[in-house]
């Protein structure tokens, strides 16, 4: 055996062993093992597809078209989920309501987390007076129950999709600030941040390139889980008459309209409610699986 062949034998496995794995690849690998999370992902994917291809599944005009002759029809081949008090097709309204619910749920979380990210990053990274000031304000806002704060904002701004979005988003900022701050505090104390500071790396670069990528895990989990909560709260707002106004299809307002007829036509409240539960459940299952996949204690 010559020297070249020895080198060949010894280096090949080492290369394989230390082959750099992508972080997201590892997370995805662990996620795939969790069948419940995969079920959540599958349901959520179907819901997203329904949102994207809503007009191809059933035209928007069907969701708005009133037909008094067909009012309060039970589920049938012509109307899969039946019709409401105005003769509108409930299946079409549920499908087109998906878009509004997802926009409000995801929109409130994305914008809320961006604002919370700025405050949380500043509080966690700079500490001292900046931390005290930001966190005292956030703690004070958190003393107001979430729904009350959101309702107060809607009361001031008026009902509607954008205003509900603003209300939900602003009400969630203190919560995200706290989550992001604590995630950043766990990273900020580590040696590689000290090393970056010692090298004279600018603060902005340290926060964006070193701290955020390492602290993002728990934030993603919290964000995923709160999309489900936001969808439920947005529906609650519409149910109370503060959210999206009829005739625009929205699950919460459909429940509000249907509750007066629910003894004779229970399908009016069953299908929109099931849509909310299914969406929130799929997101919660996904978030739960994501948390398990990101939990370092479960790493093999």
């Amino acid at each position: 055996m010559n020297m070249n062949s020895i080198t060949e034998i010894t280096t090949t496995p080492i290369k394989k062993k230390y082959k750099k794995k992508s972080r997201f690849g590892e997370i995805w690998k662990r996620m795939k093992k969790n069948r419940i999370a995969m079920l959540g992902l599958a349901i959520f994917s179907v819901i997203v597809l329904c949102t994207v291809f809503a007009d191809m599944i059933v035209p928007y005009s069907v969701a708005l078209e009133q037909n008094i002759g067909d009012r309060l029809q039970p589920p049938s081949a012509a109307h899969w989920f039946g019709t409401d008090a105005y003769g509108r097709d409930i299946f079409a309204r549920v499908i087109h309501g998906t878009r509004n619910s997802l926009v409000m749920g995801i929109g409130a979380v994305v914008v809320g987390i961006s604002l919370g990210g700025v405050f949380g990053a500043a509080a966690g990274y700079y500490g001292g007076i900046v931390d005290t000031l930001i966190m005292r304000v956030m703690d004070t806002i958190m003393c107001i129950p979430f729904m009350l704060l959101a309702l107060a904002i809607v009361a001031a701004l008026g009902p509607g999709l954008v205003n509900v979005l603003i209300a939900l988003m602003l009400s969630m900022v203190p919560y995200y600030t706290r989550v992001i701050r604590s995630a950043i505090l766990t990273v900020t104390g580590q040696d590689f941040i000290e090393a970056a500071k010692a090298c004279g790396t600018p603060d902005r670069y340290i926060i964006l390139k070193h701290i955020l990528p390492n602290a993002i895990g728990p934030v993603i989990v919290q964000a995923t889980m709160s999309v489900g909560t936001m969808i439920i709260w947005a529906a609650a707002m519409s149910f109370l008459g503060m959210g999206i106004q009829p005739p625009t299809p929205e699950w919460g307002s459909m429940l509000s309209e249907g509750k007066d007829y629910m003894l004779s036509s229970p399908h009016l409240v069953i299908f929109p409610g099931m849509a909310i539960v299914l969406t929130a459940l799929s997101i919660n299952l996904l978030g739960d699986g994501l948390r398990d996949a990101l939990d370092p204690r479960l790493k093999d």
Partner: protein, 310 residues
């Protein structure tokens, strides 16, 4: 210990002032003229301007805020635009109903969530655990108001076992209290399970087992007390969520509580009533958290010891 309590009570005042500032500030953004709301759409611009001036609505925000705080100290939250009655009296007259509902719900949530959480942790990966955690996940995904509608449909309209609305007798509170308790019990179940699992893996629990103590004694005597500490705080925090949930649940079950008062006020743009209700409920939440914190200090020897040394 008394030092901790005094410190904790003193924090309430600046926090309350800040809460009033936030709520008052948000409500000041409400479009529309307060005097116009009171006098109606037919009132002349002169009359509207006169009433606005007389009641001080034309003054700067910070002066109105200061005035509101001073009046609040005297128990005056202003008068409702709608009824003309003092806001404070409206709230107090509806408070017992909401308090009964919220207390019943939190009690029920603790009674359901904590024992099931303990069972899930003690019998981890068993059928109890899988069923419990799956049920918690499902309960957390069901909107309270929809669950309430389904409960009315089944137990009130179809079976006729329970009333669907009102608050005359304790029977009227059964469905709304269960509805309100469901998401809170789900959250308490998950938390109790997590903290219990962490506690039963601690060294002192292992030592207790090594000493040959019965499993029952290990769980109830050694583990439970420590596992329930965070649950006390979270149960208090959940009370805040419950106060928010009261708004929708009272609407579903047509209960005349503070929740429906605030919703009616929002619909009618009754700014003093909305402001008063929001501040009152936030104050109530703060008081619950104050009690929880003091209770926590009593049951957690670490906090007690910190203040005894000083």
């Amino acid at each position: 210990m008394s030092k901790y309590i005094v410190k904790r009570v003193l924090i309430v005042f600046p926090t309350l002032l800040a809460i009033i500032f936030i709520v008052f500030g948000i409500m000041s953004l409400t479009p529309g003229d307060p005097a116009r709301m009171m006098l109606g759409q037919q009132a002349s611009p002169e009359a509207v301007a006169r009433v606005n001036h007389e009641l001080g609505f034309d003054r700067p925000f910070i002066i109105r805020y200061g005035d509101y705080v001073v009046k609040l100290l005297e128990g005056d939250m202003g008068n409702s635009y709608r009824t003309g009655r003092p806001v404070f009296n409206e709230i107090i007259s509806r408070l017992p109903t909401t308090a009964k509902l919220a207390s019943a719900a939190i009690l029920l949530a603790v009674m359901i969530g904590v024992p099931l959480g303990i069972l899930s942790a003690v019998k981890q990966y068993s059928l109890y655990d899988i069923t419990g955690t799956a049920a918690a996940m499902l309960m957390a995904s069901i909107p309270g108001f929809w669950f309430g509608l389904m409960a009315i449909l089944l137990f009130a309209l179809k079976l006729g076992w329970l009333p669907s609305n009102g608050s005359d007798t304790w029977v009227h509170y059964i469905l709304p209290a269960i509805t309100l308790a469901i998401p809170v019990s789900a959250s308490l179940l998950r938390l109790t399970r997590t903290t219990m699992l962490e506690t039963i893996r601690q060294d002192y629990v292992r030592t207790a087992r090594a000493k040959g103590q019965t499993e029952k004694k290990v769980i109830f005597h050694h583990a439970l007390k420590n596992a329930l500490l965070p649950v006390v705080t979270v149960a208090g925090l959940e009370f805040g969520g419950l106060l928010g949930g009261v708004v929708t649940i009272e609407t579903v079950f047509s209960i005349n509580g503070v929740g429906t008062l605030i919703i009616d006020a929002i619909r009618m743009k009754d700014v003093p009533q909305v402001t008063g209700c929001a501040i009152f409920l936030a104050f109530l939440f703060m008081m619950v958290m104050l009690i929880v914190d003091i209770l926590y200090a009593y049951i957690d020897p670490r906090i007690r010891a910190r203040y005894q040394k000083v």
